[in-house]
Symmetry: C2
Subunit: 264 residues, 2 copies
């Protein structure tokens, strides 16, 4: 019954102790100044990862502005890995003035910049584009999350498993699944899928149910095998995220109560 949280390695370095989830805090500023301001706020709270949600950035159409800001974030973030994410408006992100072809080119440029450590690209994109982002990330030692988000409902167990398995098949380093509960029991379904996928897949999984009740999965999903959870460092990027200090408190209390090695 020991929880299976598969380790996550970034540029050869293993993150976290494996005794709890990695905590990622989003940065959602619209301007360079806002992004750097949020970055300073969240870094003070020592997350394991920082996610730059570039779909919020008003300069997204200017590749030079994006890579320059990524480089500045890199300088300021020290050892903290940076996750680069363009969340599509289909999957809950902001609308951006780029074609999907231009988005792929942006990912390629950012992977080549050496400033970021992980990218998140959605499995719902055409396979050819997923393949290109995978090749660019691999060529530059950047890890790749392949993700699926459903802001309307919690899919069936079979469909959720298939979304995670698809990420593994397409060469992801980490498979991400985010769904919306429409009833309380949906939260349990997501946790059951997490436990199943954590055993069945060879790569780490990260899963979450959104909204108020979904916040339970952000706090306890790691017990069922979810490797990374999002918490609020400065501003929230999705419904149900809890403040990072609260999340850490709950994880510490839960770890004391769980069986197994408490030393990590």
């Amino acid at each position: 019954m020991i929880p299976i949280i598969r380790p996550i390695e970034i540029r050869g370095r293993r993150l976290g102790s494996g005794a709890g989830p990695l905590i990622c805090t989003p940065v959602v500023g619209r301007t360079r100044e806002a992004v750097l301001g949020e970055l300073a706020t969240v870094l003070a709270k020592r997350p394991d990862l920082v996610e730059w949600r570039v779909d919020f950035f008003e300069g997204i159409a200017d590749t030079g502005a994006v890579t320059e800001l990524a480089a500045e974030m890199r300088r300021r973030a020290g050892d903290t890995p940076i996750l680069f994410t363009r969340r599509s408006d289909r999957e809950g992100g902001e609308a951006v003035p780029l074609s999907e072809e231009e988005v792929v080119a942006l990912y390629e440029a950012v992977c080549g910049s050496g400033s970021i450590d992980i990218v998140d690209y959605e499995t719902g994109n055409p396979a050819e584009r997923v393949r290109r982002v995978r090749e660019a990330s691999r060529a530059h030692g950047v890890a790749m999350i392949q993700s699926y988000h459903n802001f309307a409902v919690t899919s069936t167990r079979e469909e959720m498993m298939e979304r995670l398995a698809a990420a593994e098949r397409q060469g992801a380093d980490i498979a991400k699944l985010t769904v919306m509960p429409t009833k309380l029991e949906d939260v349990l379904e997501l946790l059951a899928v997490t436990a199943e996928a954590a055993k069945a897949l060879s790569i780490p999984v990260m899963t979450m149910s959104m909204g108020g009740y979904g916040s339970l999965t952000r706090m306890f999903g790691w017990v069922f095998g979810s490797a990374i959870t999002f918490a609020v460092g400065d501003r929230s990027s999705a419904p149900g995220q809890v403040p990072i200090d609260d999340l850490r408190t709950v994880v510490a209390i839960t770890r004391k109560a769980l069986p197994g090695d408490k030393s990590g």
Copy 2:
């Protein structure tokens, strides 16, 4: 999706705010001195209820000693309701030198003493004995929990529902279900049954999964409708109980994250 926690009334007084679980701390002393010492320790932590696990008390065969100690506990406990429980050795309690007939007579005496507020008697006992404890408790304004414990496994959903429904049919005020997980997914099954029973039954339910992973249900079962949870005030009475201060911290953080009325 608002959690259904049915209110619990003790002698006409409604306990708690309904915005979280009632927290009950067990007292498991073997001697009068140990019982009163533990009582002082747990009362200092302001639980909603105190449970006297009389099967641990070495004076259990002396009805006068039991009712005298119950009266002393009543004097010291002030407004805090006292739950009187003889847990059978079949269901995880201590062996006692009483026949089941003598146990029923002890419940009748304690109900008549005016010192205790709730009794817990197991649904697994013959219906005639359950009926007698129900009559004695009702006659003296004492509430009755009817309980089922399985220290070996987590039963099927159908069987767990039936155990809770049986308590309702036999006239319980509160239906209690305690099971042991043998795999992580069992914890989710118990929570699913809790949500189902909280909707289907007309009386409050209290449920818990034991052991390390079961501790999750002690902290979050209330979100799924479990009305009372046990926490450690001084000494634990079952595997997986967490310290009362930790439990309160987790409940407070979870309440902030949940939807709905946060005022209670």
